[in-house]
Symmetry: C2
Subunit: 194 residues, 2 copies
DNA sequence: AAAATTGGGTAACAGCGTTACCTCCGAGTT
DNA sequence: AACTCGGAGGTAACGCTGTTACCCAATTTT
């Protein structure tokens, strides 16, 4: 039952966007009354919270699927590409997760913690880059977050319409590569990022 | 009259957030009926469009105010810092501009064009870095957009709650510095970003 | 078997964006 | 100067939203 509600909510979100995500439509879509949603999720906020977590769970699975290549730097690149592909595949989900597409919702601390686990694969890949000497020693978690911010910035501007489609992919790659480059092992004497 | 409406709408947006930005509240706040808003702006979308443009106009002014330092690289850093400061000073505005805090609104092509002018100062600063030999030759507009994406990503994650306050400033600086570093003139033989 | 508790449907409330209707004020015409 | 006419603005309604008080049926407990 709970999964039926979530499935239909996700379907509405993906096919018609966040504006169509109303309690009445979800309820009528599963042939029930809105009361069920309130006993089950406590309100729209609880339902959106479930969608938020589901969105990051999907992102985590997408990242794990991309976590295959041998070379650690290639793996990191693949993860970044998978991040963008996942975001663009379901922009409505991305908006729920990062921009608050549902007006009132603010993720709780637990939800934010759960979201963080979506980037475990990225942290591992960065750590592998450090361990193999490709990256200089450093905090893998911190570097991963910076890569995330760069990727998120590029994707977010793309979804918002500021990056035209034909250049968005190139910019995404250039930006993530530029950030990655800053953490390369110091083989050439270039400056270190503070 | 038009400015009175916008002033009150901005006031509502800044002090109570996007959720309080309703046609009825704006109208009653200026002691008029909602009909005025519709004859003047054509609907909520037109009003939010005006707020969107105003937000980028304010950002542009904030960038111009920060555009003072002599050293081009310092100037670019100042612009980045001003960008973050401006975004954090009025997060509700930032949400209207980048995340679509008002459910239905999607900026028109003209609005996106107008938004772009907010980054003229950044493009100029990048061009100055190239002209003075600090940056390698390249497309200043393109580099500026990448810096923008990085800054936006860090600020956006900060506002969304993913970056705790005490580390957000450091991460913002590290990230923008890392991106800037990738475009430095090739004095040390480090690899070039493709 | 009777009683208590729980889950779900109905219908209502307040508030939202929007608009049809009407009034009324000011400008242009005769 | 009076009269008409056009458009700006207020009133009130429509259909929608999230939410909940009320009620009934069904299930579980004693």
């Amino acid at each position: 039952m709970r999964t039926a509600i979530l499935d239909h909510a996700i379907d509405l979100l993906v096919t018609e966007g966040a504006a169509a995500l109303t309690m009445r439509r979800i309820a009528s879509g599963i042939g029930a009354s809105t009361k069920v949603l309130y006993t089950m999720f406590g309100g729209k906020e609880g339902l959106v919270d479930a969608l938020y977590r589901e969105g990051f769970a999907r992102l985590r699975r997408a990242q794990q699927r991309a976590h295959r290549a041998e070379d650690p730097l290639t793996r990191l690149n693949d993860l970044a590409a998978a991040y963008r592909a996942h975001a663009l595949a379901e922009p409505a989900y991305y908006r729920v997760m990062f921009e608050q597409a549902v007006p009132g919702y603010q993720p709780s601390a637990e939800a934010l913690d759960a979201a963080e686990s979506a980037f475990d694969a990225s942290v591992e890949a960065v750590q592998a880059c450090i361990d193999s000497g490709v990256f200089a020693p450093g905090d893998a978690r911190e570097i991963s977050k910076l890569l995330w911010a760069a990727a998120h910035g590029a994707v977010s501007l793309e979804i918002a319409g500021h990056f035209p489609p034909e250049t968005a992919a190139r910019r995404f790659h250039t930006l993530t590569a530029a950030v990655g480059q800053a953490f390369l092992a110091d083989e050439h004497g270039q400056g270190r990022t503070s």
